[in-house]
């Protein structure tokens, strides 16, 4: 049952410093951007809070640029902006593919990378991409900026190291050597939350990340090691089996997720020789 927002407050600040001050001075404030998750939560009576901070005036955070050899994706970049970016197409095509498979165009026009990260769902569409790209999350807080390796960003189901007085300002991605791969499996061909999702890079040291098979997005170190060591594929898949912990839920089953995770890895391996 939809939550009424009339008793809630919304702050909108034009500078990052002012936004951070709000988070510091009014604990419990919920930062919002595209609202494609927050407003769904409100629709179903799960209010994340009563005080909100609209980040969309912070235009600088929309930018997609480079810093040295790294791709810098501003937290407010939308999926549409990712798809239209020449930089993303050139350097991180698996992210473009992930963006293309997010919802319909209406959602792509609004959902942001920062929101995807902050929402911290294990089904977040960009998460396996950043995990496998060994990206860094850039956080701004009262003590300035800090960087957290993506693979250390999540600590549990919907939990990250982001402190309540911090904001994600960007994701930085070092150059990715090797061929990039992405495949999302949803309940239907479009507009679907993922049941299982693989992002991967085929290189001397292959990297793999899966979404929706554990409380957080997962890199697969044992699977990667097995593949890098030239072990037979079935040995790598046995390692995979030990690394994931899928569940039954309203959308799918643990059995299915297990089987398809293995199939996705098999497919990636066969198609990127």
């Amino acid at each position: 049952m939809r939550t009424a927002t009339r008793g809630f407050t919304l702050r909108r600040e034009r500078t990052l410093a002012a936004a951070l001050r709000v988070l510091r001075e009014e604990p419990g404030t919920v930062p919002i951007a595209g609202c494609t998750d927050v407003y769904v939560a409100l629709q179903f009576g799960q209010s994340p809070g009563e005080r909100y901070l609209d980040l969309t005036p912070l235009q600088a955070l929309r930018r997609i640029s480079t810093r040295g050899d790294r791709l810098v994706i501003g937290a407010l970049a939308t999926y549409t902006e990712l798809r239209r970016s020449r930089l993303v197409r050139a350097r991180l095509p698996m992210l473009m593919e992930a963006a293309r498979q997010v919802g319909g165009l209406q959602i792509q026009n609004r959902g942001t990378v920062g929101g995807n990260l902050a929402n911290a769902s294990p089904a977040g569409d960009t998460l396996p991409v950043f995990a496998v790209a060994d990206a860094e999350v850039v956080l701004a807080g009262p003590d300035g900026e800090r960087r957290v390796p993506f693979t250390g960003f999540y600590t549990g189901y919907r939990e990250s190291v982001r402190r309540p007085d911090e904001l994600i300002t960007a994701v930085e991605v070092p150059p990715v050597e090797g061929r990039q791969w992405f495949r999302k499996v949803g309940m239907r061909a479009a507009q679907a939350i993922s049941k299982v999702m693989l992002a991967a890079v085929r290189a001397g040291s292959p990297r793999l990340a899966l979404g929706s098979v554990a409380p957080t997005v997962l890199r697969l170190p044992r699977t990667e090691t097995a593949l890098a060591a030239g072990e037979p594929l079935e040995a790598a898949l046995a390692a995979l089996e030990s690394e994931i912990a899928p569940i039954d839920d309203l959308r799918s089953t643990a059995d299915y997720r297990r089987a398809v995770a293995a199939n996705l890895v098999r497919e990636f391996w066969a198609r990127t020789t």
């Binding site: 939809r2 927002t5 009339r6 809630f8 919304l10 909108r12 919002i32 595209g34 609202c35 494609t36 407003y39 769904v40 629709q43 179903f44 909100y52 609209d54 969309t56 549409t80 919802g103 319909g104 165009l105 209406q106 959602i107 026009n109 609004r110 061909a189 479009a190 507009q191």
Partner: protein
């Protein structure tokens, strides 16, 4: 807050977190935009914000401050797609139709002739339970041909 609604500058005194959908339907009295689900899945609430389709059930009205918002009423019934969608029977019960028309609008307005695959993709966020979509695709392609005669 100030915005431009269907080409007209408007000033609204509404709660900033109110859904754009409710502001349009209730505060502005424009009931052409429909609520089908409230969770951003059906697309019936699609409006254009600065020319881009979004689902208005997931937009806090404060975020369209200074923007151009177009609802189905903003087309004044004169866009070719509004006629082709009726002629091709791309609208049966019609509840999804305003959202479909607006979601397809950028594609129809763009000179490059869309493939059927592009039409499907553009409308993947608009659910229709009546038509099976075939007639909607026909309508969009027909409108595009009319808009950009060779």
């Amino acid at each position: 807050m100030k915005l431009v609604l269907n080409g007209e500058p408007r000033e609204l005194d509404v709660h900033p977190l109110r859904r754009l959908l409710d502001v349009v339907r209730e505060d502005c009295g424009l009931t052409g935009t429909k609520e089908g689900c409230g969770e951003g899945e059906c697309g019936a609430c699609t409006v254009l914000v600065d020319g881009e389709p979004v689902v208005s059930c997931l937009v806090p009205v404060a975020q369209v401050e200074g923007a151009e918002v177009t609802t189905i009423e903003g087309l004044a019934g004169s866009h070719p797609l509004q006629r082709t969608i009726m002629d091709e029977v791309g609208a049966q019960c019609g509840i999804c139709t305003p959202g479909v028309v607006l979601a397809a609008l950028p594609l129809v307005e763009s000179p490059a002739r869309p493939t059927l695959a592009r039409v499907r993709e553009a409308l993947a966020g608009n659910l229709c339970r009546c038509t099976g979509y075939e007639a909607i695709h026909r309508a969009v392609l027909a409108a595009h041909a009319e808009r950009h005669p060779k």
